[in-house]
């Protein structure tokens, strides 16, 4: 009986390891390739060198693209967080006939094909004479991540107790103050979560960006795409590794922020 259990445990271990390998193998290949010595991305790499890392320094367009991506994602995330929270509040606090339909409408970017949205944006933004720039991308991507905010922040909002807001009002706080001192602090974690998901989602968005951006405002995924059409050297792998590192930093940053949320509160509250 006991031996049977033990052997079953080993089966599980092996399965888990295989799944991990399956998930991380592409990443491992990228990392190994980035340290290759040749002039083309081949696997297994011929020799070991860090020349492509130093080569990246001279490829100014990637730095610019990274900054563009940061701007676009942050902008879209902020816009979606503000707009989504307000929309969720309107739907929840002031129910009106058709508010359910409105919510479904806000959630629809989740199911509309991204490429269709991209084409629509291209036409609309061209008419508005803003196509090609980052601002247009921010507007477009904010709509795409709106559903995340509406659903995550909306459900957190629905879980807040109305009596808390009433108590604040009873203690003399006007509606705006109630929002900033009672509602918003209790939404902190869901805002952080919705923000993180939106940011990551928009950061490597290709479809919309490909259609509406012009040279000079390319984001990182587009820049990679264009570079890859011309060159096959390990630069792509190097940039990918940088992106992996960035994603990991972001992930741990959020984890730390979430963990220390109560501690931070105490610090702020005490003073």
């Amino acid at each position: 009986m006991r031996t049977k259990n033990v052997s079953f445990k080993w089966v599980l271990y092996v399965a888990a390891i295989l799944i991990c390998l399956f998930l991380t193998l592409p990443l491992l290949i990228i990392i190994l390739t980035s340290f290759g010595a040749g002039t083309s991305s081949v696997f297994p790499p011929k020799g070991f060198s860090t020349e492509w890392y130093s080569h990246l320094a001279s490829q100014k367009q990637f730095g610019q693209a990274f900054v563009n991506s940061l701007i676009a994602s942050s902008g879209a995330t902020l816009l979606a967080l503000v707009g989504g929270t307000l929309a969720a509040m309107a739907i929840l606090y002031y129910p009106f006939p058709g508010s359910g339909v409105l919510k479904a409408f806000f959630m629809s970017p989740m199911v509309v094909p991204k490429i269709t949205l991209g084409v629509a944006y291209l036409i609309l933004f061209s008419k508005m004479h803003i196509a090609g720039g980052l601002f247009a991308l921010i507007l477009g991507e904010a709509v795409t991540v709106f559903p995340f905010v509406i659903s995550i922040v909306g459900s957190a909002l629905a879980n807040l107790k109305p009596a808390d807001r009433e108590a604040a009002a009873d203690l003399g706080a006007k509606p705006l103050r109630v929002f900033f001192t009672v509602t918003l602090p209790q939404l902190k974690i869901s805002l952080l979560m919705a923000g993180a998901i939106s940011f990551v989602f928009t950061f490597d968005q290709v479809e919309t960006a490909l259609l509406i951006l012009r040279q000079g405002s390319y984001t990182l995924p587009i820049q990679l795409f264009i570079y890859m059409e011309k060159w096959q050297d390990p630069t792509i792998a190097v940039v990918s590794v940088m992106m992996i590192v960035f994603a990991l930093l972001l992930f741990f940053g959020i984890k730390v922020a979430l963990k220390s949320a109560p501690a931070m509160e105490k610090m702020l509250g005490k003073k």
Binding site: D164, A167, D170, L171, G172, K174, P262, K266, G269, K270
Partner: protein, 367 residues
């Protein structure tokens, strides 16, 4: 409205009507509370106590009627503009703030200085006997502690009118009595007006200057504890406050406040608190302690005999259940001191009650 009226009336509700989806929660409720008065709203669950309190505090808007604060119509003023504070039935302490910041919230809104806030929070924490809990988070409080913090959070603002929605319901007996005492003392000291909601008639009797007894959206009676106890307006109030025998009765003779009623197959003399005439039907309300047994029955206006069915020893008093024939029962609560006779089950005994204490309550008064 005269000036005098404005000076003495702290808060007033006039003909308040409130409906929730067709269900009438309050029906033409009027209530006037004097400055410095401690009143209780007493009634069974769902009778509209919380709704009335929320309307007084501005958290709910009445469909009809007006609320006056110090004689000024505040019907259009939202909660944050009224100098009233509420202690919520669900407490509603802010979960993302510690005890200190919960209590300081109202003071911060009023933009008081930091030192002043600190001082007043410390004072009120001492008042509720939780001085060491200033830095606790709300989730780390017991039910009773949370209630006391909720009381502190409202009290610290020194409101003109304090609205308390069953603030002591989660406390154990001893703490509850202590807090009743404290509330009464606090109220005397800062002279505030307290409106206190409770299910508990003893609590209402002990604390209040006046009690409003409510049932299904109306105030049945509003008066001092002794008025309500001794002269209830109907059998619901009589039964809700204190223990009473309620016997079906019919008036057969009436002269002023004196009535002859037919009851339990006999006739009794009874008092007429209202205007019941010959032929009216209703109940005879006879409080347990007004029924005399043995010797004390001899001088009573109404006398009969009964058989002891049950006797329950209660320390200072003994409660007897008596069979008075014809399938009717009466309960008597007799003061007891060591040496007094104790009647045994099955014993035949004389019993009686004074006309003065037998109230005839007309049923036609009830809706």
């Amino acid at each position: 409205m005269s000036n005098q009226h404005a000076e003495t009336t702290a808060i007033e509700a006039r003909n308040i009507v409130k409906q929730f989806a067709g269900h009438t929660a309050l029906n033409q409720v009027s209530l006037e509370v004097k400055r410095g008065e401690f009143i209780s709203l007493l009634g069974p669950s769902g009778c509209g106590k919380t709704t009335l309190l929320r309307i007084l505090g501005g958290l709910e808007h009445p469909d009809e009627g007006a609320v006056l604060l110090s004689g000024k119509d505040v019907s259009g003023v939202p909660a944050y503009g009224r100098n009233t504070n509420m202690i919520f039935q669900q407490l509603a302490l802010f979960p993302h703030m510690d005890v200190y910041n919960n209590i300081a919230y109202g003071l911060k809104v009023k933009k008081l200085g930091k030192a002043e806030i600190k001082k007043r929070v410390a004072e009120v924490l001492e008042l509720v006997q939780l001085s060491d809990y200033s830095n606790r988070s709300i989730s780390q409080l017991s039910g009773g502690q949370a209630q006391r913090i909720a009381i502190a959070r409202a009290l610290v603002n020194k409101p003109e009118v304090l609205l308390l929605d069953e603030p002591l319901s989660a406390l154990d007996m001893q703490l509850r009595l202590d807090m009743q005492h404290e509330l009464k003392r606090i109220q005397r000291e800062f002279g505030g007006t307290f409106i206190f909601v409770t299910h508990d008639q003893n609590e209402a009797m002990n604390l209040s200057d006046r009690i409003a007894v409510m049932r299904s959206g109306v105030i049945l009676q509003y008066g001092t504890p002794s008025e309500i106890y001794e002269r209830p307006v109907d059998s619901f109030v009589a039964k809700f406050i204190g223990d009473t025998n309620l016997l079906e009765a019919k008036v057969i003779e009436s002269s002023g406040s004196k009535l002859i009623v037919e009851c339990c197959g006999r006739t009794f003399e009874a008092r007429n608190p209202g205007a019941a005439g010959v032929g009216s039907t209703g109940h005879l309300s006879l409080r347990y302690e007004y029924v005399g047994l043995g010797e004390s029955a001899e001088r009573c206006d109404n006398q009969l005999t009964g058989k002891i069915l049950e006797s329950v020893y209660g320390g200072a008093s003994i409660r007897y259940k008596l069979d008075i024939g014809g399938g009717y029962e009466l309960t008597a609560n007799v003061q007891y001191q060591p040496g007094n006779p104790i009647y045994g089950v099955g014993q035949e005994i004389a019993l009686g009650f004074q006309r003065e204490y037998a109230l005839f309550l007309d049923d036609s008064r009830e809706a």
